[in-house]
Symmetry: C2
Subunit: 583 residues, 2 copies
Amino acid sequence: MTAVLVPLLAALWVFSPSSFATTSNGSGEINALPIPVKYTTGSKAACLADSFSIQFDSDVPADLSAASDRVLERIKKSQHTYLTTTSGTEFFPSLKCESEVTELRLSLSSDHSLSIFDLAIKPVEERKGLEDYTLTIPTSGAATATASTALGLFRAITTFENLVFKIDFSLPSSPGVAEGGDTAYLPFTPYHIDDAPAFHWRSILLDTSRHFFAKQSLFKLLDTMSAVKLNVFHWHITDSQSWPLALNELPELAAKGAYTPRKTYSEQDVAEIIQFAGERGIDVVMEIDTPGHTTVIGNSHPDMIACNTHKPWTGWANEPPAGQLRFADPAVTAFTSRIFSAAIKLTKSAYFGTGGDELNEQCMDADQPTQRVLKANGWTLNDALKNFTAETHGTLLSAKRTPMVWQEMVLAHGDLELDKNTIVDVWISSADVGAVLDKGFRLVHASSDYFYLDCGQGGWITENVGSNSWCDPFKAWTRMYSFNPYTNVTAVQRPLVLGGQASLWCEQTDETNFETVMWPRAAAVAELWWSGGNADGTFPRSAVDALPRMHDMRYRLVEKGVRAEPLQPEWCAVHPGRCVLGG
Amino acid sequence: MTAVLVPLLAALWVFSPSSFATTSNGSGEINALPIPVKYTTGSKAACLADSFSIQFDSDVPADLSAASDRVLERIKKSQHTYLTTTSGTEFFPSLKCESEVTELRLSLSSDHSLSIFDLAIKPVEERKGLEDYTLTIPTSGAATATASTALGLFRAITTFENLVFKIDFSLPSSPGVAEGGDTAYLPFTPYHIDDAPAFHWRSILLDTSRHFFAKQSLFKLLDTMSAVKLNVFHWHITDSQSWPLALNELPELAAKGAYTPRKTYSEQDVAEIIQFAGERGIDVVMEIDTPGHTTVIGNSHPDMIACNTHKPWTGWANEPPAGQLRFADPAVTAFTSRIFSAAIKLTKSAYFGTGGDELNEQCMDADQPTQRVLKANGWTLNDALKNFTAETHGTLLSAKRTPMVWQEMVLAHGDLELDKNTIVDVWISSADVGAVLDKGFRLVHASSDYFYLDCGQGGWITENVGSNSWCDPFKAWTRMYSFNPYTNVTAVQRPLVLGGQASLWCEQTDETNFETVMWPRAAAVAELWWSGGNADGTFPRSAVDALPRMHDMRYRLVEKGVRAEPLQPEWCAVHPGRCVLGG
């Protein structure tokens, strides 16, 4: 095994992209999204040799080898052209290849033998360095990628794939997106890339309860996440509306709670999804939201649910159907622990989500069984919640899993004495970040004012006059991209910011439209958390600079069969810099 | 030919749906969308006989016969179940069919021999009565539909199709949308329906310039429009960004103006699209927007375009690229007439859209060639526009086509002395309706504050801080449905209100997402303009009452392969009445 670190003068390195002059496509001289943290590029287009291959200097884990096969196959199949009106012919004055990249050689610079999967599920505090890589692509000859782990090499080949374009030398130039071509090339060789993620928690949340998503849809989501180096899938698998998780130990939950027998995830399905994700560098963090968001448990265990489908739901829940666990009841607490215990056996992540959002107090106050328990124990509702949480979280901690909760669990119910490693998702507002940090918890930025993909679809609770989305307006990618992770964060608190998440709650989303709602906006979120801020550490980066990369990625995704929505008229995609304010 | 008018007691008729008790699915006892204007239903489910067929009492036009074949095929193929947690089994206490509808017999009550196509392209003032039909479906035996035209019978079989559900008697009930079944039935026989549209202009606008839509996508759109009885396709075929219309007489426009050679509509394509639409009861009104929204003409005729792709575009156009026809120039006027002349030869409609929106005065004020013409003639810009309009509209009028324009042509440029038959699309605001009517013009409601499908997708002009849609917020279907066509309309002006339109401008929409953006919202618009107001003439109808119909249509569309977005969690679709405010 040989480390192939290319010697470079430090002065040549450019911290992207602030100090770069823009080129013909306006993106700086690199098209990869997320943009590498450190890179230089040249000015010569180099074709991929017909015999181009990906080689390894040593034995590598099977999942890296498989990933490399997939990249090769996709490069071969792709017809993606450079987004200018000349479709990339501007790089080939003689309209033919003048030099060739013969292979991509991958080297592990350490004796790290872990698979991509093994590395993806490492606890977040151990992730530093695991995704780092260098990638050198000459104008002619062998390209090389070096990393200390298989995960780093996986990130390297992903970057490589996204630098490759196709060209058809016989094609006339046109003002739109060309039909594609057969010749693969890289426009700006030589490339020297030294990359590492700024944050180690780069997440997508999908809710599979309001609507069911078949396994194949999740595979496609995970594949797309890996194309932009997202590394956590926050799987909000159950909620009040349906219970698709078919647990062998508690089969009644899905038998009576899934929308239909087909709309379930068997334990085998869950294993396949986790395997598929892990092989693509993604940690699957399953969430079973409790004690709220659990009405559907009442289908099989009506005695465990307070105000079960109460009419009206208004006032008794944030959305229909009303109903939540009688968490003061020791039997309910024990049952919840059994659910968690059964579920975590299926997962490989160090983390498990327990929810804790939107507890409805009116429901508990009116619930006689709950009130009897409180009275008998001299408890407040918060006392009961603390007890419930201690026991159910205890189940996770015993199994060496760290809980992940929504912000109310540290801000809304007094001190629940959560384990200090608990990860808190901030969702209500980015203004709540400081309060969470002041309590010493690590957090993931997932606030609805920036990162909710479902905002702006109109109010879905039907009223005769129409209504707006509760978190209106729609969050454009530029809004998401403009987020500063360190606003109201002290220097000493910065390490508590693990990263961020784009969340897709599925009241108005199912398999028909989820890709449109998610992509390419989530790609902007991926860049925010991978690439971090400007060279001087400030946020945000320029969305105007990122726009050509976003267009490029969007057309790449569409070509892969992902229904990513267009950002602008096609005219804009091929006229870089012309569809910006004042442009 | 025999008129099969079923005798009915007037007292049995119900003017939908205000006086109806709701049933298990909360929709009143009829599921068709748009809801028929007048109907009664029974309480017995009747299956379709295995030998079920659609028969005609006489020779009928070929396009009606073909439409009936399509309906039969779709009924056979459909797996759509009734949206309750019991999936329709509630209609069959014995879990088997107890009576059968043997056939649907269609009768023309007049000797009207025109095809659906011939009828669809009749001028709007001649459309009254052409779509009317009666439909009677007994619990057992032959169903009958009667109309005075093939178009009326086409509407009747469309209604029939949307009343049919499938059931699988072996299926357990479930809380979600069932997997479908093989047995076709109608839940509430006997049905007696006497239907007629309230408005005769029920339109969708699609912009095929910001992004190109292949012919097959337009076919699918037209098919879906016909399923909800929309009758006008406003085809905004060109704009500043691309010119996909390949005119044989002026080939340079598309040769240099289409995004790519494939992204064009040949004259044959246009003919096929118009034919496909006509056979489905849809009039294709083509629009070539002038004198603004024409930058792309500068690709082939740079001398005809003022401020052609001016940098910055800001201030010089409402969106990039800047550039519009030098309409003061007699050569440009003559050229525009040639374009219209070539285009109208391709169309069959009585109408042709000439645009007239968003003229940029700064561009013309700064354009030396334009200023020279104005000075030479002693003209104001409005004088020049009047001259341009008189000539170009004259071309249409000579060819017996009525112009359709955007509201600025009657409100923003003085009196342009338009032909009094000109149809005006109100788009800027519904508040402008009165001003248009006061000038005596007929109008189509297409205002952005109610009917723009593209609002709320976020600002697409890229800025570093993110921005909102100019016409934020997103228009939920309930907002669209809440529109009152007669607000600020005097009794005497009411006949000037032809109907309405849902418009989809495609800056952020292409083939990947257009179905999601359009459906099922446009189905609510279809009902608004077909079904009209409540029995007492007031608007709006209740969206809460319409919700089950909207869910039903949405799932029908998805089953047909249309990516209509979900309105609510699936739980809500099968729990009618539970996901409304206070429900």
